[in-house]
């Protein structure tokens, strides 16, 4: 048995993930031992501390380029950049999640079975400042995402997928308002997500049969060998892709998105729209660029068609929406299409521009959902579009911020939305995918319409009695909004530092 050796483990390289997973476990203990009154403050500050420490660990090893624990994890430029992005976006999401001053008891409820508005419900809201188990759950999800973008073999990737998905399923079900919708969303997300995971796992099995290994480098080597079974290769790639496309909300695997985005508590929607997108595209980039780049001529047209379909579906259906959260959900689907355009450039520009887009979009979408949490009436968030009419007169500052974010989504210059779109389209033309850019431009025109309609509602319509009030944001939400809006502006006006960062990071290790 002398030849069985432990693989070398570089703990430094794994530190960001270890910190988050460790902190999540400690968070559970805090949940058990900390007194109920002070639990929220302790958990929230502890979660922030963990994310910050993890971020520091990422920054500290910005020059690390290595594969560790027996080839399971690759720490390279894209990994570190994406991990840093997930942590930064995660920290802003935590601000929205930790907000307790907008609504009594916060946006989460721990005992969802209690009738809304009943004595018991009020007592519960008063007794405990919201469900504090959301913090360890969020940390688990973030930790899983960090592992997901770093995974260098297919099984690790699958494990990471489950680690970050399961907490999200739970978090979706915890909305204080509109509980049935929230629980329905969670169930849908869970069921469809399980199917997607099963597809992914089946694909992994086929690829294992094809290449005799699960490490991405082995797959890469096997793809170059024409003697092997093409059925297994394409079958496996297709099934793995389905799993990833589902998480990234690309058509035709997007149907869960509007329901889940609408039903989930809005801070969790923000977390999913920002961080899950980064994680899903991070993994997709690694799979396509590292493992399957040998068959790019085969998957490029297929995924290109998916990108076009996604952009069209997102843009066209966004036009018909009457609910703000669903509108943003379809807009996020369309944006996933633009991201896929960047991915399909399949060159270094494609990699760096996609990473830039992920960060730029993440901050904007966090700010957008942050504002959705503020526009409320007696029944909680007022998400029907008609209710937003005339908001610009009643709360000019919030409406101005939202308008700015919408302009960013529409890709108007001096916002991050423009620079990001410019980057991915430029990369795609360079990669010979001009047709995708043409569709990207056409769908951008379509998408401008729903955004503009909201701007018209905000500013040009007269306010009426049903225009909801805008809650005064607590410190945390204000901070999240300011960060989101400032990042959207800064990345539009001075994008150079981040672009350089993504360019330096745009090299996978194999």
């Amino acid at each position: 048995m002398g030849d069985l050796k432990l693989p070398g483990i570089d703990y430094g390289a794994l530190l960001p993930m270890l910190i988050l997973f460790g902190a999540a476990c400690v968070g559970i203990l805090i949940e058990v031992f900390a007194p109920r009154r002070s639990r929220n403050v302790i958990q929230l500050s502890f979660a922030f501390l963990a994310v910050a420490a993890s971020f520091v660990a990422v920054v500290a090893q910005h020059n690390t380029r290595k594969i560790t624990i027996g080839g399971a994890v690759a720490v390279d430029g894209p990994t570190l950049f994406l991990q840093g992005s997930i942590l930064a976006l995660g920290a802003v999401s935590l601000m929205l999640i930790g907000e307790r001053s907008i609504e009594r008891g916060g946006p989460f409820v721990s005992q969802a079975a209690i009738t809304v508005g009943s004595q018991k419900d009020l007592k519960q809201a008063g007794d405990q400042p919201g469900a504090t188990e959301v913090y360890p759950l969020t940390l688990f999800a973030l930790g899983g995402m960090l592992l997901f973008v770093a995974a260098n073999d297919l099984l690790t990737m699958f494990v990471a997928l489950e680690v970050f998905s399961l907490p999200l399923y739970l978090l979706c079900a915890l909305a204080r308002r509109r509980r049935l919708l929230s629980q329905e969303a969670a169930l849908k997300y869970f069921l469809l997500g399980s199917y997607a995971s099963a597809f992914f796992l089946f694909g992994v099995a086929l690829i294992y049969g094809f290449s005799g290994g699960i490490a991405l480098s082995q797959v890469h080597a096997a793809v170059a060998d024409p003697q092997r079974s093409q059925v297994l290769l394409y079958g496996g790639l297709a099934l793995i892709a389905i799993g990833l496309l589902f998480k990234a909300a690309l058509a035709p695997f997007h149907v869960w998105t509007p329901d889940v985005y609408q039903g989930a508590p809005t801070p969790i929607t923000a977390l999913m729209a920002a961080c899950t997108k980064v994680a899903a595209f991070g993994a997709l980039l690694r799979i396509l660029y590292v493992a399957f780049d040998g068959v790019q001529w085969d998957f490029q047209p297929v995924l290109g068609t998916i990108a076009v379909l996604t952009m069209l579906v997102g843009a066209v259906l966004a036009i018909t929406q009457t609910d703000m959260k669903r509108l943003l959900a379809y807009s996020s689907i369309a944006n996933a299409g633009y991201l896929l355009v960047g991915v399909l450039a399949l060159n270094e520009e494609g990699l760096s521009s996609t990473m830039f887009y992920l960060v730029a979009y993440g901050f904007s979408v966090l700010a957008a959902f942050g504002i959705v949490t503020l526009v409320r009436d007696a029944d909680g968030e007022a998400t029907h579009l008609a209710r937003w009419a005339g908001l610009g007169r009643k709360s000019p500052l919030v409406a101005a911020a939202f308008t700015f974010i919408l302009l960013a989504f529409a890709g108007i210059p001096l916002t991050s939305g423009f620079t990001a779109k410019f980057a991915v389209f430029g990369a795609a033309i360079e990669g010979g995918q001009t047709w995708l850019v043409v569709f990207g431009v056409v769908t951008s025109m379509l998408l401008a319409f729903p955004y503009l309609r909201v701007v018209v509602l905000l500013w040009l319509s007269e306010p009426n009695e049903s225009t909801p009030t805008v809650s005064i944001p607590g410190f945390l939400t204000s901070a999240a909004l300011v960060i989101g809006v400032v990042a959207t502006f800064a990345l539009g006006v001075v994008p150079a530092p981040l672009i350089d960062l993504t360019r330096d990071a745009a090299q996978f290790v194999r």
Binding site: F425, V441, M445, A448, V456, L460, A496, I499
Partner: protein, 513 residues
């Protein structure tokens, strides 16, 4: 003196002004107006200084400044002005104070905030100066898109009854054009060697594959044709012009639409010379159709602002054929037309605005015999109309004539058809004047107390500079043509066409002097 960073200061100045004015509380409307007016005067003074510093016979691009922006894309804050840009900047600098003064009481009728209105006007001036001063394609595109935002809110928040529809239509049309251009800009960047600098791109232009260049040309051209607007991309303008406040409408057609024709001259022609020649017949046909079609529609309008908007579309047809005739006189005529049209149509819109402000309606049928109540204003209206129909002695005549003779030397048929547009112009202008101010007094007018007030001192100050310039440039256009000519010649050189025969040059000399 030429080392002074004119263009960047000129661009940023109105932006600072816009922020300052926006911060003034709603109650202090007078203060906001005064500051906005003063600020635009400072811009005017600086522009005059720049005009004097410009050397007409010197380099094509002067006042060049360049600052790093996004190094990895080679996008820079590069400003430079040729003669064409210079006259447009001057036009902007003249029109903005005039419009601000003309819009003095526009906001008071609604409950909207006056500081915001004047702040938006200054923000619009910022984007306008930026778009003409930019010599970096990326920077140009940025200004090209963001100029929609202030105008959108001006139309949408301060416009007439159909303002929401008009604002959205305006924004969507322009955005659609802008996105076509975005695709072309990216494509140009990739095939042009990953640079946005206009000079470098113009040099690389010859090496672009012919087919690619045509597609890229089309991307730019559609954006500019929507902006200008040329037939058949024009349908947004009557709505936007009809719904916008009169002052803003003057800026909309007087300045903003020139971005389209300016863009064609600067970017389409110089960067894609072969494609420009290839598409020229189609563009000429569109221009001629535009002249006749828009003039016919203008004849049938019953809304003053919509009517003036349609006349603009007809005028843009002239500018279009002037550009695509590819002769120096026609080109010079087109640029001169851009200036003169800004003055004449700007004046016409402003005077129309004065009528509308008095009557509370923009429908021609609500007027009739107004000249009996407000004789001086009606006189100004008549002279603005005459300038608009290019009566000899007014500035637009020279430009229209230059365009027509310049076109006639190469495309006689188009020139002949376009000349019919002059007759139609006389029809729509004179009929409009007749139905509004001449004839029997509409009894309903006497019941409107404001209609008894003739032109006020403020309004005289507003129209005087424009009337003076129109007459001055009508008799002595040399200062302007001297600046324009070298730039147009350089552009024609880029396109690679030469003027046919020396007779045309002689004619050009005769007219220019």
């Amino acid at each position: 003196m030429t080392d002074f960073p004119f263009l960047s200061i000129l661009t940023l100045l109105p932006l600072v002004g816009a922020v300052v004015v926006a911060l003034i509380p709603k109650q202090k409307a007078e203060l906001a107006k005064t500051i906005a007016f003063g600020w635009s005067l400072v811009v005017l003074v600086l522009s005059i200084v720049m005009w004097i510093a410009f050397q007409a016979g010197g380099d094509r691009f002067q006042f060049r400044e360049s600052y790093a922006w996004i190094p990895s894309w080679d996008a820079r804050f590069t400003f430079a002005a040729d003669g064409i840009a210079l006259v447009m900047l001057m036009l902007i600098a003249i029109l903005f104070p005039v419009v601000i003064l003309a819009s003095w009481h526009d906001v008071e009728k609604s409950n909207r905030s006056a500081p915001i209105y004047f702040s938006l006007l200054l923000a619009f001036e910022f984007t306008m100066i930026g778009v003409f001063a930019a010599a970096d394609v990326f920077l140009f595109y940025v200004f090209f898109e963001i100029m929609l935002i202030p105008m959108y809110f001006i139309i949408g928040s301060f416009g007439g009854p159909r303002r929401q529809y008009a604002a959205v239509k305006f924004f969507l049309y322009s955005l659609v054009g802008g996105l076509f251009m975005l695709a072309a800009v990216i494509g140009l960047w990739v095939v042009g060697g990953k640079t946005f600098d206009f000079g470098n791109l113009a040099q690389a232009a010859g090496s672009i594959d012919q087919n690619t260049a045509r597609w890229l040309f089309l991307g730019f051209f559609v954006a500019f044709a929507i902006k200008a607007p040329f037939f058949p991309f024009h349908t947004w303008l009557p709505d936007a012009g009809g719904a916008a406040p009169a002052g803003a409408a003057a800026l909309l057609v007087g300045v903003m639409d020139k971005v389209g024709t300016f863009g064609i001259l600067r970017y389409c022609l110089s960067l894609f010379p072969e494609a420009s020649r290839w598409f020229a017949p189609a563009a000429l046909v569109l221009g001629v159709i535009g002249i006749i079609y828009a003039a016919l529609l203008a004849v049938g309008q019953n809304d003053l602002k919509r009517l003036v908007s349609y006349t603009s579309i007809a005028h843009f047809g002239f500018i279009g054929i002037g550009i695509f005739a590819f002769t120096t006189q026609a080109g010079t005529g087109a640029v001169l037309y851009m200036v003169n049209h800004g003055l004449a149509t700007g004046l016409l819109f402003i005077v129309v605005g004065m009528f509308i402000a008095r009557r509370g309606s923009s429908l021609i049928s609500d007027f009739g015999g107004a000249g009996k109540l407000v004789p001086v204003l009606a006189g100004v209206f008549f002279s603005a109309g005459l300038a608009s129909l290019a009566l000899p002695g007014t500035a637009p005549f020279i430009s229209e004539f230059l365009v027509l003779i310049g076109t006639f030397t190469v495309h006689p048929a188009y020139a002949v058809v376009a000349t019919a547009g002059i007759i139609l112009a006389a029809a729509y202008v004179l009929w409009m004047v007749q139905r509004t101010t001449q004839g029997e007094l509409n009894p309903a007018l006497t019941e409107v107390p404001e209609m008894r007030k003739d032109i006020t001192l403020r309004e005289k100050v507003v129209v005087a500079p424009l009337v003076l310039l129109i007459i001055l440039l009508g008799f002595y256009p040399k200062p302007v043509t001297d600046v324009i000519n070298p730039a147009v010649e350089a552009t024609m050189q880029d396109v690679g066409v030469q003027d046919p025969g020396p007779t045309a040059v002689v004619a050009n000399e005769r007219v220019a002097r």
